[in-house]
């Protein structure tokens, strides 16, 4: 009886692998910019699903359940990134741009310019997706980790701070700089090229 349960479990989860690994993989790649890592995270997700199959109730779809597991795996990954590397906040850090002058006003070269279109339908445009992904890849890994965690649904900053074990003021600084850099990067690569 037990053997037949296990083979049934194999059958179901193998079916999920064929059905859902592409969206899971794309989703993980977008957040990590690393194909090998994204593939490992997807594998870990299916192994965890196999181990905890009994917890999969009928209350959500298989896809939603798998995404929830992957989300936890990615959160763990970001936590490790933050733990192992620098926060990239010291001014000598490579790639750090000083956007403001001594008085805290925009430097002339970095003043935001007017964009012609800023429509959310841009996300359907593969070329825009590519530009966006390119800008994400250019962020220091600690900043990208904080940013992704924010959009993964951490609507409370103290939850993110606890997850990453950093202070609130560091989190604000990181998110602020990440946003400044993302905005300027998209302006240069998409909205105002040349």
């Amino acid at each position: 009886m037990k053997d037949s349960n296990i083979s049934e479990k194999h059958r179901i989860i193998s079916h999920w692998v064929r059905q859902y690994s592409d969206p899971l993989y794309s989703w993980a790649f977008y957040r990590t910019s690393d194909e090998a890592l994204a593939a490992d995270l997807v594998q870990d997700t299916f192994l965890a699903a196999f181990q905890h199959y009994e917890r999969f109730g009928g209350s959500s779809t298989a896809k939603t359940w798998l995404f929830a597991i992957l989300k936890n795996k990615i959160t763990d990954h970001f936590r490790r990134v933050l733990k192992s590397g620098s926060l990239g906040l010291d001014s000598h850090h490579e790639g750090t741009v000083e956007w403001f002058d001594d008085q805290g006003q925009w430097k002339r070269a970095f003043r935001p310019q007017r964009w012609d279109t800023e429509n959310e339908n841009l996300l359907d445009d593969a070329a825009f997706q590519e530009a966006l992904a390119g800008c994400l890849r250019r962020l220091p890994s600690a900043w990208a980790s904080c940013m992704h965690l924010k959009y993964l649904g951490g609507n409370e900053s103290n939850v993110i701070c606890q997850q990453l074990n950093i202070s609130a003021s560091n989190l604000w600084q990181i998110l602020h700089r990440a946003k400044l850099q993302m905005r300027a990067c998209l302006e240069k690569r998409w909205f105002k090229p040349n």
């Binding site: 194999h10 989860i13 193998s14 692998v17 064929r18 690994s21 592409d22 969206p23 899971l24 993989y25 794309s26 989703w27 790649f29 977008y30 994204a38 593939a39 997807v42 594998q43 299916f46 192994l47 196999f50 181990q51 896809k63 939603t64 995404f67 956007w99 403001f100 008085q103 805290g104 006003q105 925009w106 003043r111 935001p112 007017r114 964009w115 800023e118 959310e120 841009l122 996300l123 593969a126 997706q129 966006l132 940013m147 992704h148 959009y151 993964l152 649904g153 609507n155 409370e156 900053s157 604000w172 600084q173 998110l175 602020h176 946003k179 400044l180 993302m182 905005r183 998209l186 302006e187």
Partner: protein, 91 residues
């Protein structure tokens, strides 16, 4: 009076940082007022706020579970899928 004015006025650096905090809904009334005062007078920060909001929306939209009928974009190579399935067999 000057001192009061100085207290009210934010630098662009500070104003844009407050916008980031605002996305978590963690600004008190005074900071919201300061931020509002600054952007109403500073064209660069007004633009920044609009563009930052746009970025906020698209990045948030991207983090949800993808919809079924949409091409996921990237595909996990078949040999990796087979590897995962044989890994499962070993459990």
């Amino acid at each position: 009076m000057m001192r009061v004015m100085n207290m009210m006025m934010l630098s662009c650096r500070k104003a844009t940082e407050l916008m980031e905090r605002k996305t978590f809904g963690e600004l008190d009334a005074f900071a919201r007022f300061q931020s509002f005062m600054h952007t109403s007078m500073c064209d660069a920060c007004k633009l920044y706020e609009k563009q930052s909001q746009f970025l906020e929306n698209i990045l948030r939209k991207q983090s949800g579970e993808p919809v079924d009928d949409k091409d996921p974009g990237k595909h996990l190579p078949d040999h990796v899928k087979s590897r995962i399935i044989s890994e499962l067999e070993r459990q």
